[in-house]
């Protein structure tokens, strides 16, 4: 923002207008969904679209009602989907963090034959992220089906590691790399063991970065659709695939679907605001030295 403050008033106005346009453009779908979620079904499908209407929270109420109206609603269980998402993305993130940070730390501290081989290992791990999900989804389905692990939370948690681990390795590595080895050496000299050094010296220096990594990992896993669609089932269906159920042959419950989407984005929004400060730093992949 410092750069903007230095500008003349005329230029500042132009900048702000442009920024507002971008914000409107980016936020419009979100606002639209939110408005839809508080409209009655008649207002949703009405043409031209109404911006002034009688707001209702029926859509939200219906999500949690045990006996729902409409044919499609009979099999829908929104609270269950929500819980599934929380379980899968939550434990998935924890697992990704434990494994990914361990690997990320090792990649910065362990001795490698050469710097090139260190980079190769790191990049190989990251490249799992580039692979198209569609390419691996069928083999994964076959494997999990054979060992009888389809439609279990642990299965999705494991599959989500494909999204989580490459990301946490790459991110945490960039944070650990910014902590000079000599600081850890000093701590060892001063009397801390390796574990104490990590806990008291290294971790406090990287924790904000790791928090941002955790939030992003959670969001990626929460948002995943394809893995959940193929490998998830009745019992494990998360919110992303669950929301599809609002559309059926008989009816499309747009209002409830919108309400479900709004509710499902709350955890991400809250978490993102919580670590917003570290987020930018995290997203630059540690390229900018602090």
């Amino acid at each position: 923002m410092d750069a903007i403050n230095k500008l003349s008033i005329g230029r500042k106005t132009i900048y702000y207008i442009l920024l507002i346009l971008v914000a409107v453009y980016v936020l419009f779908p979100f606002i639209w969904i939110f408005l839809t979620s508080i409209k009655s079904s008649a207002d949703i499908t009405g043409y031209p679209p109404k911006f002034i209407f009688d707001a209702t929270i029926d859509n939200y109420k219906n999500l949690f009602a045990t006996s729902q109206t409409g044919a499609a609603a009979s099999t829908l269980n929104f609270p269950r989907y929500y819980l599934n998402s929380l379980i899968i993305a939550g434990f998935g993130t924890i697992l990704s963090l434990i494994i990914g940070c361990g690997a990320g730390y090792a990649l910065t501290r362990a001795e490698f034959k050469s710097e090139a081989s260190r980079e190769n290992v790191a990049f190989t791990l990251l490249s799992f992220w580039f692979g198209p999900e569609l390419a691996i989804i069928l083999p994964l389905y076959v494997i999990f089906n054979k060992i009888g692990l389809i439609d279990q939370h642990i299965t999705l948690i494991l599959v989500y590691q494909l999204i989580g681990i490459p990301f946490t390795v790459w991110m945490s590595r960039s944070f650990f790399r910014d902590v000079p080895v000599s600081i850890e050496e000093a701590s060892r000299i001063d009397g801390y063991t390796a574990v104490q050094t990590f806990k008291k010296i290294t971790f406090p220096l990287v924790k904000s970065g790791l928090a941002a990594t955790a939030v992003l990992t959670f969001i990626f896993q929460w948002n995943n659709f394809l893995f959940a669609l193929v490998i998830g089932g009745r019992n494990t269906m998360p919110i992303t695939t669950g929301a599809l159920g609002f559309i059926s042959y008989e009816a499309a419950l747009w209002g409830q679907m919108a309400a479900a989407i709004i509710l499902s984005s709350i955890p991400q929004l809250v978490l993102a605001m919580f670590v917003q400060k570290h987020m930018v730093r995290g997203l630059t992949f540690g390229a900018v030295k602090g």
């Binding site: 034959k113 050469s114 000079p180 000599s182 600081i183 050496e185 000093a186 701590s187 060892r188 000299i189 001063d190 009397g191 801390y192 063991t193 390796a194 010296i201 406090p204 220096l205």
Partner: protein, 382 residues
């Protein structure tokens, strides 16, 4: 090693046949080769050598930060070769500070005490802490600052205090004054020496600055290419170099070296430099083979010049090659045959370039070096 060692204090640190390898892209680098030396209790030992000579690696091995590939390290009777640094009870001042960025200067300084679990109140009243803050001239305002805000010199002082504050068996200092400006460095050098006298502990100090090593150390260990060149008191190192490397590395301006031929005539040993000759002291007799080429070395202050050959018992004719006015002294480079020899003379004496001049050596301070091994011949019997 040291021959006339009257210091009978017990040995505190002992290194035996230490070897260290680093693995580069293609080749294996043998950074420290068969290094053995010891430091006595309360001794100030300086490890001196050009960069890349293995002195810092050696210090890091003593600290336990670097793995020893072969050989052993002992603290008194305790073998510490593979012991974790936290178990060695050492203090280490890092050249690159290694301050904890999330702690203030004060917290950095007292960190080793906190690790030991000493209560905050006791730390605040710690006598050495206040002594160190005062002696190293640390500004009270600096104590609350964070490492980011410090200059290189201030950061090094903080690192030094953190090293010295604890009651360690051995203090290891890796170029701890290198980031200070000249004036501060000289002052802190004196302070450090004072602290050593007060603390009465073993200090091992790594530096590439010979002046620092000479000013501080009781004993100097000189290394080059990972090999110990000489260990001895500053006086020994200066006047009795073990080989040509030590002779050339120590002293400013450096020792003069010239190619010479040793001949025996009428029972006398004579050194020829070009067609000029000079007698070798009798103590060389029987210790050196004549009719062979050697490198003759002599320090600039042991070279004398005069326009009158009668000023000397024995002199060689030469020409003034370069005359430099340096203020308190003047420096003359004379040309003797094809060799150039530097000497320092009083500021009141002036010579004209190209004029004839007679040069004489203090023969008792001449050194002869083997052309192949570069070892000093007279080191063994002087």
């Amino acid at each position: 090693m040291q021959k006339s060692n009257d210091n009978k204090a017990k040995i505190k640190v002992r290194l035996e046949k230490i070897n260290k390898y680093y693995y580069g892209k293609k080749e294996k680098v043998h950074a420290v080769k068969d290094l053995s030396f010891h430091c006595r209790d309360k001794e100030f030992v300086a490890m001196l050598g050009p960069s890349g000579c293995g002195k810092s690696s050696t210090l890091r091995m003593i600290a336990g930060l670097e793995e020893v590939n072969s050989g052993s390290i002992h603290f008194v009777d305790r073998e510490v070769t593979n012991l974790h640094p936290s178990k060695r009870n050492i203090g280490l001042a890092f050249e690159n500070y290694a301050l904890y960025p999330h702690l203030s200067v004060y917290e950095n300084m007292i960190f080793p005490l906190r690790v030991k679990g000493i209560p905050e109140r006791e730390i605040e009243n710690n006598q050495r802490l206040h002594e160190l803050i005062e002696l190293f001239e640390i500004d009270k305002n600096m104590l609350d600052a964070y490492p980011k805000a410090l200059s290189g010199g201030q950061a090094q002082l903080t690192s030094l205090v953190r090293c010295l504050i604890r009651d360690a068996d051995v203090y290891l200092l890796d170029e701890p004054l290198s980031h200070m400006d000249e004036e501060m460095r000289v002052r802190m050098r004196t302070t450090l020496k004072m602290m050593h006298h007060k603390m009465k502990k073993t200090f091992i100090y790594v530096t590439h600055d010979q002046l620092e090593a000479f000013a501080l150390a009781d004993r100097i260990i000189i290394m080059n290419f990972g090999v110990l060149q000489q260990a001895g008191s500053p006086q020994d190192i200066y006047s009795k170099p073990a080989n040509q490397f030590v002779a050339s590395f120590i002293g400013e301006p450096p020792m003069n070296f010239m190619e010479s031929f040793l001949a025996e005539e009428n029972g006398d040993l004579l050194v020829y430099i070009g067609d000029q000759k000079i007698h070798l002291p009798d103590q060389f007799k029987g210790k050196i083979k004549p009719d062979k080429k050697y490198v003759l070395g002599i320090r600039p202050e042991r070279v004398h010049v005069s326009e009158n050959p009668d000023d000397f018992k024995e002199s060689m004719k030469s020409y003034v090659d370069i005359f430099e006015y340096l203020g308190e002294v003047n420096q003359v480079t004379v040309k003797l045959g094809k060799e150039r020899i530097i000497t320092e003379i009083g500021s009141h004496v002036h010579y004209k370039q190209g004029s004839e001049i007679f040069v004489s050596f203090d023969i008792d301070h001449m050194h002869l070096f083997d052309m192949d091994t570069l070892e000093c011949i007279d080191y063994k019997f002087r």
